[in-house]
């Protein structure tokens, strides 16, 4: 049995896209209330890990336990209903839906989600643009919307896939503030990042991923001491 404070426990996870084997035994834990990152170069399997945890990758094997429940064989709608919510790398804003419809799309899965008014307090811009077509928003606004719409569902754990990718520094900073605020409010967050400078400002611990495996774990407080090692891993 996993320790009681571990919310998500991934063990020896393998995943395939068609013929290609993309995850080779990913193993990591996400403790409740922490912000945990998966760091690594492009194409090492970070996004595939998230998509496997959400059940979007059909061919997956090993063990993924959420709150003690084994989800490896569940369809993704059932997994979501356990309390996980996903913000994909490409943001997944629907062009045939208005901003408001995008916001209200993810169904409430549990009581205790953030009330809509509070979501709009965090993201006032989304209320102003509620009637626009979802994809007419700027890149930064679309990213905000993609995060905002999963806060009201009652999910306790958020999977954020590269929320800062391609955004201006000032917006990246704003997203950093939001992630810290969400952590304060008790959300558990699994974050995929390539930008470890950003990751260092929000996370409690970092897993380094290479070739579809976790090769190291670095607590955030030890990050500076391990900077050389990390730079070698990431090839920067």
């Amino acid at each position: 049995m996993p320790e009681p404070h571990i919310l998500l426990s991934v063990k020896d996870l393998h995943a395939h896209y068609g013929e290609s084997h993309v995850l080779h035994g990913m193993t990591f834990d996400v403790p409740k209330g922490e912000v945990v990152t998966l760091l690594g170069r492009n194409g090492v399997g970070k996004t595939s890990t998230m998509r496997s945890v959400m059940g979007i990758v059909a061919k997956r094997a090993g063990s993924i336990r959420y709150g003690g429940v084994e989800t490896i064989a569940m369809p993704s709608n059932k997994i979501a209903r356990l309390g996980l919510a996903y913000c994909p790398e490409e943001r997944g804003i629907f062009s045939s839906l208005s901003v408001r419809e995008n916001m209200l799309l993810p169904p409430i899965i549990k009581p205790g989600g953030m009330p809509l008014e509070e979501v709009y307090q965090l993201f006032p811009r989304l209320l102003e643009r509620a009637n626009s077509q979802g994809t007419k928003l700027s890149g930064g606004e679309q990213q905000m919307l993609a995060i905002a719409r999963i806060l009201r569902t009652g999910a306790e754990m958020l999977l954020l896939d590269e929320p800062t990718e391609g955004l201006a520094p000032v917006i990246v900073q704003h997203i950093g503030e939001i992630i810290r605020e969400l952590r304060k409010r008790g959300f558990t967050i699994l974050l995929v990042e390539q930008n470890f400078h950003f990751a260092a400002t929000v996370a409690d611990r970092h897993y380094v991923v290479e070739h579809g495996q976790v090769i190291d774990m670095i607590p955030n407080e030890d990050l500076t001491a391990n900077m050389d090692k990390l730079k070698t891993y990431l090839g920067v």
Binding site: S76, N77, A80, R81, L105, I150
Partner: protein, 295 residues
């Protein structure tokens, strides 16, 4: 007698009414096709056969269970939709990830089997289905005679099409449907049972075809080939309107019915080809269709 451009007014409006009725059927069928293509990625060639099944089920309900027109209008779409949903669950579901061609082949095969079965059982001469007594007779509008039943078909079709459009564009359920048409795996990852939604959507599209079949029974008589006569034109309508566009399918359906009717008045020889001429022209100018988005 009054004439317009040398055509008697009576004949002109008579043909326009016929066109409007044909358009009503084109609209109901192409709406279902567009809905199914959007979400399931399936070009449902069995749509005509399911429309024919609708007419036959109504006829069977009347002749074997004594169920009248109004009851049939409710029961038939349910029965045919259940048949459709079984087909979706057992066969279509396996094809979503493959090329469109496979879905087209399977549904074309299904259409042949369904039609063949009814032809084997009932021949091709066609069975009469009486106009319900509440809708018999007609009104003299001065410029033309309007059979009540035909007016009812046009109104019923408009209400169904408008209702479906409102359901899809203005409701929460519709927003799930539109979102799942764009990105089904993300919608499912939000906790929505997309495979169930797909089955129900197919059932809904099939139910529309079946209702169209019941509405058609008193007009065209019940014939195993009634679907295959219609389906080619309906596909042209979907292509002209733009694959997957709901509103496009409805507007184009009615519009082309009228175009066909007008052609019958002014140049009857071209009446059966005019739609395909329109299709060729639209495809040259707007390959994605009048209401389609570029893919």
């Amino acid at each position: 007698m009054m004439t317009i451009l040398g055509i008697p007014v009576q004949a002109l409006f008579g043909q326009l009414l016929l066109g409007l009725i044909n358009g009503a059927f084109y609209a109901m069928l192409s709406l279902g096709l567009a809905l199914i293509f959007g979400l399931l990625n399936i070009v449902n060639f069995s749509h005509g056969a399911l429309y024919m099944m609708g007419a036959f089920v109504a006829w069977l309900l009347l002749n074997f269970l004594g169920m009248g027109y109004w009851t049939a209008l409710i029961v038939t779409p349910v029965v045919v939709a259940i048949f459709g949903m079984i087909v979706e669950r057992t066969m279509l579901r396996r094809l979503y990830k493959l090329d469109h061609l496979y879905g087209l082949l399977l549904t074309f095969g299904l259409a042949l089997i369904i039609e063949g079965a009814f032809r084997q059982l009932y021949g091709i001469s066609g069975m009469p289905y009486a106009v319900p007594k509440e809708l018999q007779g007609g009104w003299n509008l001065g410029f033309m005679f309007l059979p009540i039943y035909r007016g009812w078909v046009v109104v019923a079709s408009l209400v169904l099409c408008l209702g479906s459009w409102l359901l899809i564009e203005k409701t929460k359920l519709g927003s799930y449907l539109r979102a799942a048409t764009e990105n089904p795996s993300l919608v499912q990852a939000f906790g929505i049972n997309v495979p169930m939604m797909v089955t129900l959507t197919y059932g809904f599209g099939v139910a529309l075809a079946a209702i169209a079949g019941v509405l058609a029974a008193p007009i065209y008589s019940v014939n195993p080939l009634m679907g295959s006569n219609l389906i080619i034109v309906v596909f042209a309508v979907v292509v002209i309107g733009g694959m997957g566009s709901i509103l496009g399918a409805v507007i184009t359906g009615f519009m082309l019915g009228l175009v066909e009717g007008l052609t019958k008045v002014f140049y009857p020889e071209a009446a059966s080809t005019v739609i395909f001429v329109v299709m060729a022209i639209v495809l040259m100018i707007k390959p994605a269709g009048l209401f389609g988005k570029r893919s």
